[in-house]
């Protein structure tokens, strides 16, 4: 497993866990309608977000892709995978934001008033969605562009 694969796997686990946690906390106790007034939930979700991003940063530092001894951890194939994964992540991110916006519009078009809590959820969940989709795309591309064999 390459360093980039290890980093992607850790990114996948962290972003999936924190996205699930963030969603669970957001939708508990009344969801978007009561989110802005609920200080406990806001603090809990803020703590989850901070911890998630700190862990992702820690992984980035821990699984470095550059080395002082000039060992090669990334070559043209890895760079190609990174580029393709970034493209996929951007597409997924755009589709997610589009679907959320259209979904919210449809859900609240008759009432004409939308709880502002949804904007917060859209902003923070989209960040984790982008990281999650990039990690999944990277791992899939590695299975397509690699094999297992002798050393």
């Amino acid at each position: 497993m390459t360093r980039l694969q290890k980093r992607s796997l850790l990114d996948l686990i962290i972003s999936a866990v924190f996205l699930a946690g963030l969603t669970a906390v957001f939708f508990s106790g009344g969801g978007a309608e009561t989110y802005v007034q609920d200080t406990t939930r806001k603090i809990l979700v803020a703590a989850l977000l901070a911890l998630g991003y700190i862990l992702l940063f820690f992984v980035m530092f821990l699984v470095r892709l550059k080395s002082k001894d000039k060992a090669i951890f990334m070559d043209e194939r890895d760079e190609r995978i990174v580029r393709q994964a970034m493209g996929t992540a951007f597409t997924v991110f755009a589709i997610y934001v589009f679907l959320m916006c259209i979904g919210l519009y449809e859900a609240y078009s008759t009432s004409e008033v939308m709880p502002v809590g949804w904007m917060w959820f859209l902003a923070y969940s989209s960040g984790f969605i982008a990281i999650l989709s990039r990690a999944i795309a990277t791992l899939i591309l590695y299975t397509r562009m690699s094999g297992h064999g002798e050393s």
């Binding site: 090669i72 070559d75 043209e76 194939r77 397509r144 690699s146 094999g147 050393s151």
Partner: protein, 70 residues
Amino acid sequence: MAKAEIKNNLRRLRFEHDEMTQQELADRSQCTRQTILALEQGKYVPSLALAFQIARVFGLKIEDVFEYQD
């Protein structure tokens, strides 16, 4: 446009060159062992620069290492 394939003789050439390991070839051609493995299994087509580097390691012309097939 029909899909073309780039085949290579890396595995055979490695064994003809004192059973060179994938890691040795990777180190000498400035790429990772996983890329050499992917090339040998036909899962990755290298850039022209990498193809030249690999050919140079074996002291051969690029067309002796890589083969274009329609």
